[in-house]
């Protein structure tokens, strides 16, 4: 798969985002210790792993919302702690797992919040902002509901609105924490398509996903985590094997080929006592 790699304008140095020897802890309990990861540029990366393995923590450390105790998150080789937070927000966007919808806000007003990193107390709106917001509304298919309050939308519509906000932020890196959780299947696929669209625009997308088959089908690159470590990394067909699924997820499974895309598909093995019902 050839991913489009866009160089940042006016810079000869390729941009990079990575964690180097990062130790990240909640209270006293370290979730990640001496963690290394280089985000694959221009790709759609899916981070998978069992609950509590540190996926979300890793994502938050990459986005500066959690600061490493030791080691660092590095953007272009420079620790995030040394960057101005607005400058980071113009390069890296993060959609948290359960974002708060401000009371009474409309779709368009929420999407416009994505422009905040470009503003200052003296410049609250820029000439190009309207176009960027309109484009974000169009790309996510929410322009028809632009004037509706977000609170009244369905889960699927709401998630598209949040992604529109991230698009309006217009960043090179887009980090999404479980963007498909709590959505029904059609809306899950819709969000994954939006992730692919963002990649096709030249953005680097990293999403924490739960569904192994969706991760293998839609992402270019998988990062498999277990107990705060990366246990495997690579293209879905390189990474997703029966042994790995058994070891990491404690699930006996066969790997088959997705008839649509040829990507690996995880099929749980029948338990000894299971009844097979045929109609």
């Amino acid at each position: 798969m050839s991913a489009p790699l866009t160089e940042p304008i006016g810079s000869a140095d390729p941009s990079s985002l990575r964690l180097a020897g990062a130790t990240v802890a909640y209270a006293e309990r370290p979730v990640l210790e001496g963690f290394d990861l280089e985000v694959s540029r221009g790709m759609f990366t899916a981070v998978i792993g069992p609950n509590g393995c540190g996926k979300s923590t890793m994502l938050k450390a990459l986005a500066r919302t959690l600061r490493p105790r030791a080691g660092a998150a590095l953007l272009d080789g420079r620790p995030l702690a040394q960057w101005r937070s607005k400058a980071i927000a113009r390069r890296i966007a993060l959609l948290p797992q359960d974002p708060v919808v401000p009371e009474g806000i409309t779709v368009k007003a929420l999407v416009a919040r994505g422009r905040h990193p470009y503003h200052s107390p003296w410049r609250q709106w820029l000439s190009g902002d309207d176009e960027v917001v309109a484009e974000a509304l169009r790309a996510t298919g929410v322009e028809q509901i632009a004037d509706r309050p977000v609170a009244g939308l369905s889960g699927g519509q709401r998630q598209r609105v949040w992604i529109a906000m991230i698009l309006a932020q217009d960043t090179e890196y887009v980090l999404l924490d479980e963007p498909t959780s709590f959505l029904d299947i059609a809306h899950q696929i819709e969000v994954l398509h939006l992730c692919q669209d963002m990649r096709d625009q030249g953005r680097t997308v990293v999403a924490v996903l739960h569904d192994l088959n969706q991760a293998a089908r839609y992402a270019d690159h998988l990062v498999v985590m277990d107990a705060g470590r990366i246990v495997a990394e690579g293209s879905p067909s390189e990474v997703l094997h029966a042994e790995l699924v058994a070891e990491v997820f404690d699930l006996q499974a066969e790997i088959a080929e997705d008839p649509q895309s040829g990507t690996p598909m995880v099929i749980p093995v029948r338990r000894a006592g299971d009844q097979v019902i045929r109609s």
């Binding site: 938050k60 986005a63 500066r64 919302t65 937070s85 607005k86 400058a87 980071i88 927000a89 113009r90 890296i92 966007a93 993060l94 948290p96 974002p99 708060v100 401000p102 009371e103 009474g104 806000i105 919040r113 994505g114 905040h116 990193p117 503003h119 200052s120 107390p121 609250q124 932020q169």
Partner: protein
Amino acid sequence: MARSWTLGLLLLVAILGGGLATLAWGDLGVGPRDLVTAAQGGADTKVTFVLERLRGPRLLVGIGAGIAFGVAGALFQTVTRNPLGSPDVIGLGNGAGAGVALATLLAPGIVPAPVGAVLGAAVAIGLVHVSTGLGFASPARVIITGIGVAAMALALTQYVVAVSLRDASSQLAGYLVGTLNSRSLGQAALIAVALAVLIPLTALLAHDLRMMDLGDQLADALGGNAVRTRTAAILLSVLLAAAAVSVAGPIAFVALAAPHIARRMSGTPGPHLPLSALVGALIMVLADFTVQHVAPVEDLPVGVITAGVGGLYLGYLLVTDWKKADA
């Protein structure tokens, strides 16, 4: 947006109208014509006395304190994401009251009452900051510890009042409910200076404050610093409220109700800082007019009116909001 401007203008007109009426009403009334003469320096002694000693200072202190309370409440409600938040809730008013009680009853003439108020408020808020363990980072802890600190401050005040003689307690009474009776131009200047310093700082903070309703994580991800913004907002809120309390006492409900009333009028979702300021000022002007000129409540401390009327109005707002939410 346009609606906010119109509303702001209407509120300004109402404040001005209320202020002029307060000055003009009754036997000692100073009408608009007297004001023009006074501005040109040709006023007689009666007019000068009313303007500089009686009604002028209390009007100015009322407007200034109203603005300070309104902004303080709006700041506090924004960063705690709690519609019932106000500096009073975290013990500011009671702390100020305890400070004044200690200053006036235990060390009379040594520590001036406004200084006691500010020190008491500072100690109360400092206690809240220390005892949450997280500073002002967790809104829920700030409110819970604040309620505890407020209760302790109240207990301290009651103790001081109980062990002291009652002769010094009339000044104290003003600080316990809030009053505009016998204000001075010095106090008007004090609140004016406080506003001149604190309001521009608030305006600067407003840029990042707008993002706080998205939650800490998104506020950070969009280039803010949620913890720093919250701490700065609570500090500004406390300073504004402390300034108002030091010149007018802990006038009840203005900080709590002004942002709600402004929000209802404007139809904007979050607390609206400029409109909250204007509504705060208007409430004070109207309440002060009432205690100066309406016979049954004449000469009561203005805090009694704001507590009574503001409490009723806030209750009405909440009930209608809840009914709408349930429908």
